[in-house]
Symmetry: C2
Subunit: 336 residues, 2 copies
C-alpha cells in the first residue's frame, strides 16, 4: 500500500512537472498570436467616410485571415508576417507597396524589413522603386545574403536576380497619393504648415507561432515629399523593426526620424531584457512618455514570447488588429 | 562663541553641499574626455612592419591632438568628434574617406553618422561616392534637414547643395585597397575562404565636453567587395553609432551585420538606462559575451557622462586611443 501511494505521489509530481501550463499563476501560451498595423496618424471619425472605414476594416480582417490561416495550420511566424505584409502591400489603401506615397521628385521609394526572433537574422531593403513586394526582397536579403540592409539600384538588381516580380514604376501610381504630393508641394510653396496627415504611414505585422518563435515585419512607402534618398525607420533594424525570442517582436509606425533616434523597436526589447519590464510597461513607456514628451508621434505593435500583445500609439488613430485562437479585434480610432 | 561655531558649522555644511566633487566616493568629472578608434580586426604584430605601426600611431596621435585641442579650448564634443573624423577620413590608412575600400563593382560607397547626446539629434549618409568627407555630410543632415538618414545619389545631391567638397570618384583610389579587392575577387573565383582581414574597418570618435555633453561619430568605406548597395552598421543610428547624455556615447567597428542585428551601440546605452549597469559592464557584456558567442567580431569605444571610458574588442587588435587632461594612450594590439 505504501509503495502504491509512493508510486502515485511520484506520478503526480512528475505529471505536475511536465505540465507547468496547469499552474494558474503561469498563464498558458496561446497556440499562436498575430498582431498587425496599417499605420498611425491623424485618423479621425470626422475625416473618414463609412465606405472608407469599411474598406480599411475589410483589408485588416483579410490580412489577419491570411496570417491566422498559416499559424493555425502549423506554419511559422515568419511565414505569417510575410503573407500579411504582401496582402497589405497589394492593397492601395496603405502607404506600402501599391499604395506607396510619392517622393518630392514624383517617384516612389519603398522600404521594408523582416527579423527572425529565433536566430536574430534580419533582412531589409531601402529606396527600391520597381519591386512589387519590397517585403519579399527583405526576406531574400535575410535568407540568401550575408548582409542585412541593401539599398537603391543595388537592392533592385538583387531582387531581380532573385527572381522577384519587377514592375514598371507606374504600378505604384495611385490618384490619392499623387494628390497628397500635390497638396504638400502647394503648401510648401505657400510656406504653409504641413500637416502630419497623409505624410506617413506603414504596414506591419508581428507573430508568435506554436514553436514559440517570434517574427516582425514592416513595409512602407516612406514620407510624402521626401527628398535626397531619405530613409526612415522601417528598414532600420532596431528602429522600426525588431524581434528576439528572449523578449518580443515589434513593428513601428510614425514619424520615422524619432523612431530612429530613440531606437524604439530595440528599446522595447532592451527594457524587457535589461530592466525586467513587462511588454506592456516597456511599450507604454517609450510611446507615451519618451516619444510623446519629445514630440515624436506614432505607435507600435508587439507580441512577447508568452503571447501578450501591445498596440500602443500616441496619435488619434492607428489601423490595427490582432488574432489569437478564439479572439479577434480590428480597430481604427483611439477611443475604441 | 556658540554662534561662531554654529556659523562655521553652517558654512562648512554649505561648502560641502556646493562642492560634491570633494567627496572621494564621487570622482570628479574630467574637464573633457576623448576616445577614438581606427577599426578592429585581424591586426597582429606579425602582420605589421615597424614603419606601418609608426604611421598608424602617428595618425592616431594627430587625431587625438585635433580633438583635444578643441576640447581644451572650451569647444563642444560635437566639434571634437567632427575634426577627429575629418582628419582620419583624410588619411589613406583607415577604411574611411580617402582610404575607403572598394565595392564589388570597383567603386567606393561611403557611410557616416553623427549623434548629439544632448538633443538625441542625429544625421547620417549611406552609399555616397563623391563626397570628400562623408562625416561633414552627416553633420549637415543633422543640422539642416528634418531627416536622419539620406542615401545614394540623393545624399550626394544634398551634400553638393550644402556646399560640401565634391571630389572625382578617383580621389578614393588607393593602391592598397584596390589590391585588397583583387585578392578578394580572386579568392571568390577560387571559392576560397575569405579572411576577415582587410574586409572591414571604420573610424570613430566619442567625446565628453566641459558642459557634460556627449557626442559620437563614425565613418567607413564599408566592406571590401560589398554588392547591391549594401549598408553596414555605421550609418545605422543605434547599431554603429549612439549618444545620449543620460548614459553614454558609443562608436562601433567590426562585422557590421552583427552590430545591426544586436543594435550594439544602443544596447550599451539601454543596459545602462534600463539595467542600471556601468559602462564597463554593459560594453563587456555585448562585445565579449553576446557578440562573441554568436560569431560577431569587432569592438567599440565609449564614454559615459562621468568621463569613464571603454575600448572593448573581441578581435586581435583595434587601432585606438584616448585623451583626458594629463592622460593619453594610443594602442593597436590586444596584449597591450
Amino acid at each position: 500500500m505504501k509503495d502504491i501511494i509512493f508510486g502515485l505521489s511520484i506520478l503526480f509530481i512528475a505529471s505536475c512537472m511536465n505540465a507547468p501550463e496547469s499552474n494558474p499563476s503561469e498563464p498558458e501560451r496561446p497556440a499562436y498570436t498575430l498582431v498587425i498595423h496599417g499605420g498611425a496618424g491623424t485618423i479621425t471619425r470626422s475625416g473618414m467616410t463609412p465606405d472608407m472605414e469599411a474598406e480599411y476594416l475589410a483589408v485588416l480582417d483579410a490580412a489577419l485571415d491570411a496570417g491566422e490561416n498559416i499559424l493555425k495550420n502549423g506554419g511559422t511566424s515568419l511565414e505569417a508576417v510575410r503573407d500579411v505584409i504582401v496582402l497589405m502591400e497589394d492593397s492601395p489603401l496603405f502607404n506600402a507597396g501599391k499604395g506607396a506615397v510619392f517622393t518630392h521628385a514624383g517617384t516612389n521609394e519603398l522600404d521594408a524589413a523582416v527579423m527572425d526572433g529565433k536566430t536574430l537574422m534580419a533582412g531589409a531593403v531601402a529606396a527600391v522603386g520597381n519591386v512589387k513586394n519590397p517585403i519579399l526582397a527583405a526576406f531574400e536579403v535575410m535568407e540568401h545574403t550575408e548582409h542585412v540592409l541593401l539599398s537603391g539600384k543595388g537592392a533592385e538588381e538583387f531582387a531581380a536576380a532573385r527572381g522577384l516580380e519587377i514592375v514598371d514604376p507606374s504600378y505604384f501610381f495611385t490618384e490619392r497619393r499623387w494628390k497628397s504630393l500635390q497638396t504638400v508641394l502647394e503648401k510648401e510653396k505657400q510656406q504653409a504648415e504641413l500637416s502630419e496627415q497623409e505624410k506617413h504611414g506603414t504596414v506591419g505585422a508581428v507573430a508568435l507561432d506554436k514553436n514559440g518563435n517570434l517574427a516582425a515585419a514592416t513595409s512602407t512607402g516612406g514620407m510624402t515629399n521626401k527628398k535626397y534618398g531619405r530613409i526612415g525607420d522601417t528598414p532600420v533594424v532596431g528602429a522600426g523593426t525588431y524581434a528576439d525570442n528572449a523578449t518580443c517582436a515589434v513593428s513601428c509606425t510614425g514619424h520615422g526620424e524619432y523612431f530612429i533616434r530613440y531606437a524604439v523597436a530595440h528599446d522595447v526589447s532592451a527594457a524587457m531584457r535589461h530592466g525586467g519590464k513587462s511588454l506592456a510597461s516597456a511599450a507604454k513607456d517609450i510611446i507615451h512618455t519618451r516619444l510623446l514628451s519629445n514630440g515624436g508621434s506614432g505607435g507600435l505593435i508587439a507580441v512577447d514570447a508568452m503571447g501578450n500583445i501591445s498596440m500602443e500609439f500616441n496619435t488619434e488613430g492607428m489601423y490595427r488588429g490582432y488574432a489569437k485562437p478564439g479572439e479577434r479585434e480590428v480597430k481604427i480610432y483611439q477611443d475604441q
